[in-house]
Symmetry: C2
Subunit: 332 residues, 2 copies
């Protein structure tokens, strides 16, 4: 089986071949094909700009792979800021010896996921490092989007806002955890890894007044809510029984002592919406495949000292702590 | 001594602290400080967009470090496309256990080098991976610039164009090589790692008709010239004795069997300029600190089958091969 060699990253003949026979084969577009040091784009007005590095292990998992994840993660970071994803960059960090076949599978995933979203791969870079100096494959991306709705911000939560999640909580984290522990379930736990631009585009085209939106990746739902409370200076109250969690995810969490709200999602957003528009928002979400499990889970109760409170089914209130400690390295 | 822990990358409390106490401390600006999933930028007209991953080993070397290199590399990729560097993203991939002090030194380098160029760090990401799964520190960047001169392109070389290098050849590669081999010289070999925007801005403001410009990083001078010959479909002829190479770099290459033209630079560009403007170009370059060693090294002799020919001091002609094989991994 062909493998990636150090020479593929040395900037010489073999690098040129890898670019032509792999990257341009799958990503071909007028901008990338020029192979300049920087690509020239025509875009103006307000743009959104984001970056992310993907180090997930294993690189193939139920529901996706590191390539699909890299596109979905980048697209979602742009979409939650009200931006239509347009261009992406890709930096590959490859361990010498990675099977060419694995790399090609991942490149194909990237290409498919990018096409679904109308995103062009505009520029890229490839480094190959000696065996043992990186684990298989990391991908760093950046993304550029066109802002179609301004004002979405973590600093923008208002008293009375309703908090909505667009899907079940903790699926990606639970999937990676199960894969690493070698655990099998009757209904396998699948990552929710997916691009949410189509769903979010529908929301942005609706009249719904959204104040903030964020995809709940590393740090999970608890991470997003605590950051929001902090950045907007508000108290948020969540009803535990309204948080949608798959049975298998619940089971895994009980077994291993995790909180579903601390586990990463890779295809779910949290939304703070003006109270009067909450039902309308839910309606739009439910009309999409990606948002069919959307639920109202709580509200912003007041301005003041930042805090997230969770009410149990028995009416007991406790603080929803932000995640701390090691959690799960290489989750995304 | 404080070290970077896995928890610094988990997206929870410790990540927030690292962001506030390290990254925002040094990179603080209105855009970054908002800490949104994507940053909103106001930009108009044509933009240049580039990405690069930096894996250089050692991370500190004579003349720079991986941080300075990351900014210079990104700035130079934008500048050679005629773009004024404006914004950068940074993705840090950190090995658990990296001394905090090392990371802070590098963050300071980045901050200084970015300020010199008027570049804002607009967005970032940090991943910490378990010991042994990445070597110390990799940095992936992307950059956005405003195009101030269009038409510079590797596809744009014309018959008669004069080929100029803005400085001595092979310095960065030779420096890394010497550091890794533990070799000491009377005059230490320093990397040429530096941002070239100020120098290039002067060129762009002059009346000089530049057809192509590229920084000779991985693959070195031979890599750039061969790619240009290929992409523009031209034959290029270089006079060996006109290529400026430092004595120590020459010595090292003879000792270890390398070609200076295959070694990376990180602060030198190759320029193809219309013949009538070559002297004027040299004058502008010589008026800058970064370009004081600039030299005319050859010319585009004809359209036709892509080829780079080098003439030795004895008049013998041979092909200047593109670099091939492993060369030097983790050079940049």
């Amino acid at each position: 089986m062909k493998k990636i060699l150090l020479s593929h990253g040395s900037g010489g003949e073999e690098t040129q071949k890898l670019i032509k026979n792999l990257f341009l084969k799958h990503f071909s577009n007028e901008i990338l094909n020029k192979l300049e040091d920087a690509s020239i784009l025509n875009i103006s007005g307000k743009i959104a700009f984001t970056t992310d590095a993907f180090t997930v292990s294993p690189i193939f998992f139920k529901g996706g792979d590191i390539g699909k994840l890299a596109v979905a993660g980048t697209v979602n970071d742009l979409a939650v800021m009200g931006a239509k994803p347009r261009y992406m960059s890709l930096s590959f960090l490859i361990e010498e010896g990675l099977p060419f076949e694995d790399l090609e599978k991942i490149v194909k995933s990237i290409s498919e996921e990018a096409k679904k979203n109308g995103v062009l791969i505009a520029t890229g870079d490839t480094k190959v490092v000696p065996r043992g100096q990186v684990d298989k494959l990391f991908i760093a991306t950046s993304g550029i989007g066109e802002v179609v709705r301004s004002g979405l911000s973590a600093h923008n939560l208002q008293e009375g806002d309703v908090i909505v999640v667009s899907g079940t909580v903790g699926d990606h984290g639970a999937c990676i955890l199960a894969e690493r522990e070698g655990m099998e379930f009757d209904i396998p736990i699948e990552s929710d890894c997916k691009s949410l631009w189509k769903m979010i585009e529908k929301l942005l085209n609706s009249e719904v007044e959204i104040h903030a939106m964020r995809d709940a990746t590393r740090g999970g739902l608890a991470g997003v809510l605590n950051e929001w409370a902090e950045q907007s200076g508000v108290e948020i109250e969540i009803e535990e029984e309204k948080i949608p969690v798959r049975e298998a995810v619940k089971g895994l969490c009980e077994l291993l002592g995790f909180e579903p709200t601390h586990l990463a999602n890779e295809g779910m957003v949290v939304i703070a919406v003006k109270e009067k528009d909450a039902e309308k928002l839910l309606e739009v979400l439910h009309s999409t495949e990606e948002g069919k499990n959307a639920s109202i889970i709580g509200r912003v109760t007041k301005k003041g000292s930042p805090k997230v409170v969770i009410t149990t089914p028995y009416g007991v209130k406790r603080i929803m702590e932000p995640p701390a400690g090691e959690l799960l390295p290489r989750i995304c």
